[in-house]
Amino acid sequence: MSTLELLVLLPLLAALAVGLGTPARITALAASVIVLALALILAVNFNTSLEGDGSLQFTSSRPLLDIAGFPKLNLAFGLDGISLVLVLLSALVLLSAVLVAPKEDAIQGSPRLYYLSLLLIGGGALGAFTATDLFFLYAFHELALIPTFLMIGIFGHGENRVRTAWTITIFLGVGSLILLVGLILAVGSLGGTTFDIADLTSRAKSPDHDAGTQSWIFLLLLVGFGILVSLFPFHSWAAPAYAEAPTPVAMLHAGVLKKFGLYGLVRLALPLAPAGAEKWLNLVLLLLLGNILYIGLVTIAQKRLDRMLGYSSVMHMGYAFLGIAAGNVVGVSGAVLLMFAHGLSIALLFALAGWMRERFGDLDFEKFGGLAKSLPRLGLLFGFATFASIGLPGFANFAAEVEIFFGAFAGEDAGMNWIRWATIGALWGVVISAVYMLRAYRGVFMGPKPEKLETPADLAWSDRLPVLILLVALLAVGFAPDLLNQYIRPAVNGLFLVSAG
């Protein structure tokens, strides 16, 4: 079994072990630490010198199905730079989510189920990002669907949690189904003999690949992945789900799992249907402005911290879409980097918000104020998270946004075109996100403290550790985005890219 396979299977095996009765938290912690270690080992051993073609590394493949009329199915894993970055993201967030998760005796209900679900979500994400077989790419993502459903429904917050669990599950389920149809169509139109993504990608470059079919493929994939990433107007599941999910789930879902949709667009939609992408990317521009400007305003109107963060994560997806719509190396690299950055920063925010909810009960802005004085550590860390989220230099988010903006603006002609106008619109989103984040920070941490508000003890080391893991990673990449760009760029270069505009 290769290191990569071990990395993917470990959380699943750990989940099984937890299901069979090993101590839940320790198993989960051990598994996620090892996963992070393995991810780092892979990153160190990753050969970045393969310039240009973005070849897969650490590949493995086990045949599972080979019948007439159906593509060959293999349990195949491999890493290219994009996958590697997302694996690192998953490993980081998984560890920190497990750390954030409450101790066994603090869980209302079955702790085994709790940790099992977390591990399944994490394992699903890792599998989805490393599978080089189209089916498993899809299937691993779906693996997380039921655990998410259960986690929100059982351990979630608020009276509406069941309804919320429903909403997210049905939304994502429908999205996945649309996606599935798109994928089958893609596979079918590309010969229908393989699920191997690299193989499919190279076939898609053939001139016989019918443009009309491509248009359909891209549209289906766009809607399918779009729902998973909460592309406007398919976003209404996201905010309540994140607001009501248990903290580790919100971290894992918003931070990691949601990136699957973007990953899919980059890895599949663009390369498999370039002509379709060409046709529909202008629609993407319109929708992403919906994400950034419309959802941005909706975010401003939120009255609760957790919902606001939920909407903000929807909004930020717009930038990733912009990078993808740019369809060039710089823009797509930026989108990948943003997946990483946003994953960490939103997990960071949810971790802190979760800590607050646990202690204050709910997160209505109205009841808060002046917390920075009594809870300086929280204030400081939240401040960092806020600045990361609004894309301040020094944090990875900024680097990603810069790449995206430059990518979106790149082009031969020196006039304005659609995507450049859209970029200008997206730039305005930077102002909007600053408005809501700073308003929130002002409301919660600054100003006088309401008399009724009782403050608990500040973050303990065990609370700070998961947050610091994320923060350090964000800063490290923010200061040196090339740490990841070195991996991303060859991989993106290997994709077949089309630009909007």
């Binding site: 049905i170 301040l392 903006f405 603006f409 730039l427 930077v430 600054m446």
Partner: protein
């Protein structure tokens, strides 16, 4: 060396954050020490000539192939659009940045020093000094930047440190609001700045100043270039608080006074001007944009001066005067014909005398137990002699008393405007030259002369040497900084030229002298011995209601538009996308279930009907 100048304050900020914060005294000393060290480095850097220039830049983002030597030679800086992006952290060390660095570090050091006293008992001292260090780091970055993106990076960081410092007393609602406002208004400017950077990039293919300078001549699309420059200017409008984004600066006075001196008078707000000077080649190439800049500067200068007439808070008066002076500087950047140098000249002189004035006001406030209303002061001349005299010297420089530094620099700007036949802006600038002496004299008269009007003012006594030594030093600079022996190392392209003044003693000098005399005289006439303001112009006092207008807009967006969107999201988008289909499915399902009436004969009937239907289709 440049690296140490840049990184030392960052390291200090990080160190304080990571651990030193527990020992606030140590934090303060380390921070001040590092400021001194950077000052020394800067002096070395400035005196080191070309040898000190470091060309090695840190590749922050590097994607794809760099343009080859030939391509760069041919002016093709972006041969693979979209395929490659290289952004480095590197340095431009030329006269402009050297001088600016000296200003930043010297005033920075003095403010540190002053703060040691001023913030002695503050609980958040560590945080404060960390913020100062962070600010120094950011400001250094702006000044040294060799490219637009790097400048933008530090531009934003300056915004953050300003946010931290304005909001230092964050549990005060007004301070918290002011910090937020400052950041957000700056962000609006940054929005334009970034758009401008991108536009310049597509026009010239580069983000590096030297390359842009080479390429700007070949830009065919003049219209877009103008827009690009205006966008870039937006950044300056935000940072240098020009109309219409000026609203944050007066509020920023909620921060500790040394911060106001350092950030909101001398350096950060000057960053916009500095940036315009840095890209003067762009402004020169965009005529329409240049004119816009001139007008914006002039209008800012006038409006701010008018607002300053009716302010009672000592820091606010200074803040509006800062706005007004910034208007001059910005105007100068658009004038062309050496206007940029004149603007920078004024930036230098203004940095010193305005820092002096702010620190002086800080001393006054400190002495009056944090009383800021000038009508509650009075008679401070006797209580705080050193402060008074330094303050007076600063005022003299500000109102352009001949032979003080402010005189020379303002003169240069006006001259340049006149030379370029920008009569409208010139007239406005002259008008401002009448107003400035008026409101400053009012301030000095009310605060320092007459009788103490409150107990606090009565009990005030002189501040300690840690605070007055910086004042004295700054007072010296306020008067003499225009002369070659000070401005030599500071200024590459402009300084006091007495010969020039006498050689061309013309309209400008006469008008400004008249303005000085009339302004001071009128102020004395109106305010001498008054205990309350004899003049009341609500429009000026209320700052033309611009804040209220903005507040209305903000409310419109937050309360009406955003809430409307939220409403739409809940009751329109979500139902349409999700609930409606779900309900339809449920309803359809219930309809289907209705067929299961339970009676087997009915089932048989449906069976028969369906059978007939199937057969009918197939047979026909």
């Amino acid at each position: 060396m440049a690296w140490s100048v840049l990184l030392l304050p960052l390291l200090v900020a990080a160190a304080i954050l990571l651990g030193l914060k527990r020992w606030s005294g140590v934090s303060a000393l380390v921070s001040t020490g590092s400021a001194l060290l950077t000052l020394i480095f800067c002096i070395l850097l400035a005196s080191g000539g070309e040898a000190a220039v470091e060309t090695k830049s840190y590749p922050w983002i590097s994607i794809g192939d760099r343009p080859s030597g030939e391509e760069i030679q041919a002016g093709n800086f972006n041969p693979h659009p979209g395929e490659a992006l290289h952004i480095g952290i590197g340095f431009t060390i030329d006269g402009l940045s050297r001088g600016m660095m000296l200003i930043v570090t010297s005033i920075g050091f003095l403010v540190h020093l002053f703060s040691l006293g001023y913030m002695k008992d503050d609980k958040g001292k560590s945080r404060y000094f960390a913020g100062l260090s962070l600010f120094l780091f950011s400001m250094t970055g702006i000044v040294l930047a060799d490219n637009f993106v790097m400048m933008f990076v530090f531009w934003e960081l300056v915004g953050v440190s300003s946010y931290i410092l304005i909001g230092h007393w964050y549990d005060k609602a007004s301070a918290a609001d002011a910090a937020k406002k400052a950041f957000l208004v700056n962000r609006i400017g940054d929005f334009g700045f970034m758009a401008g950077i991108l536009l310049v990039w597509i026009l010239t293919g580069s983000i590096y100043f030297d390359e842009i300078a080479k390429a700007v001549g070949g830009v065919g699309n003049a219209q877009l270039l103008n827009i690009a420059v205006l966008c870039v200017f937006c950044g300056a409008v935000g940072k240098s608080a020009q109309v219409p984004l000026h609203v944050w600066l007066p509020d920023a006075m909620e921060g500790p006074t040394p911060v106001s001196a350092l950030i909101h008078a001398a350096t950060m707000v000057a960053a916009g001007v500095f940036m315009l000077a840095r890209v003067s080649f762009l402004i020169d190439a965009a005529e329409f944009a240049a004119h816009t800049i001139v007008w914006v500067g002039a209008i800012t200068a006038l409006l701010a001066a008018l607002m300053a007439l009716q302010q009672n808070d000592i820091k606010r008066v200074l803040a509006y005067s800062t706005l007004s002076q910034l208007g001059y500087m910005v105007m100068a950047q658009g004038v062309g014909h050496g206007g940029s140098d004149a603007g920078m000249f004024h930036l230098y002189t203004h940095a010193f005398f305005k820092a002096l004035l702010f620190l002086g006001s800080g001393a006054v406030i400190y002495a009056c137990h944090h009383e800021q209303d000038i009508w509650k002061m009075g008679g401070l001349k006797k209580k705080l002699p050193i402060t008074f005299w330094t303050f007076a010297l600063g005022t003299a420089a500000l109102i352009a008393v001949p032979f003080t530094s402010g005189f020379w620099s303002k003169e240069a700007i006006l001259e340049a405007a006149l030379h370029e036949k920008l009569h409208g802006p010139y007239a406005i600038a002259i008008l401002v030259a009448f107003l400035t002496p008026f409101y400053m004299t009012r301030l000095v008269l009310v605060a320092f002369f007459g009788k103490p009007r409150t107990k606090d003012a009565d009990h005030a006594h002189e501040v300690g040497p840690v605070m007055w030594v910086p004042l004295a030093l700054l007072a010296f600079l306020a008067v003499f900084s225009a002369y070659g022996f000070v401005s030599g190392p500071l200024l590459a392209r402009g300084h006091a030229d007495i010969g020039h003044l006498f050689g061309h003693f013309g309209l400008t000098a006469i008008l400004s002298l008249v303005g000085l005399v009339v302004g001071v005289g009128a102020a004395i006439y109106f305010y001498k011995g008054r205990d309350q303001d004899p003049i009341s112009i609500p429009l000026f006092r209320d700052k033309f209601k611009i804040d209220e207008l903005y507040l209305g807009l903000v409310h419109l967006f937050q309360d009406a538009v955003a809430k409307g969107m939220d409403f739409a999201d809940r009751y329109l988008v979500d139902p349409l996308v999700a609930r409606f289909p779900a309900m339809t499915a449920l309803a359809a399902g219930s309809v289907f279930r209705v067929f299961n009436v339970g009676n087997v004969q009915t089932y048989a009937f449906f069976f028969g009907v369906a059978a007939v239907g199937v057969i009918l289709y197939l047979v026909l």
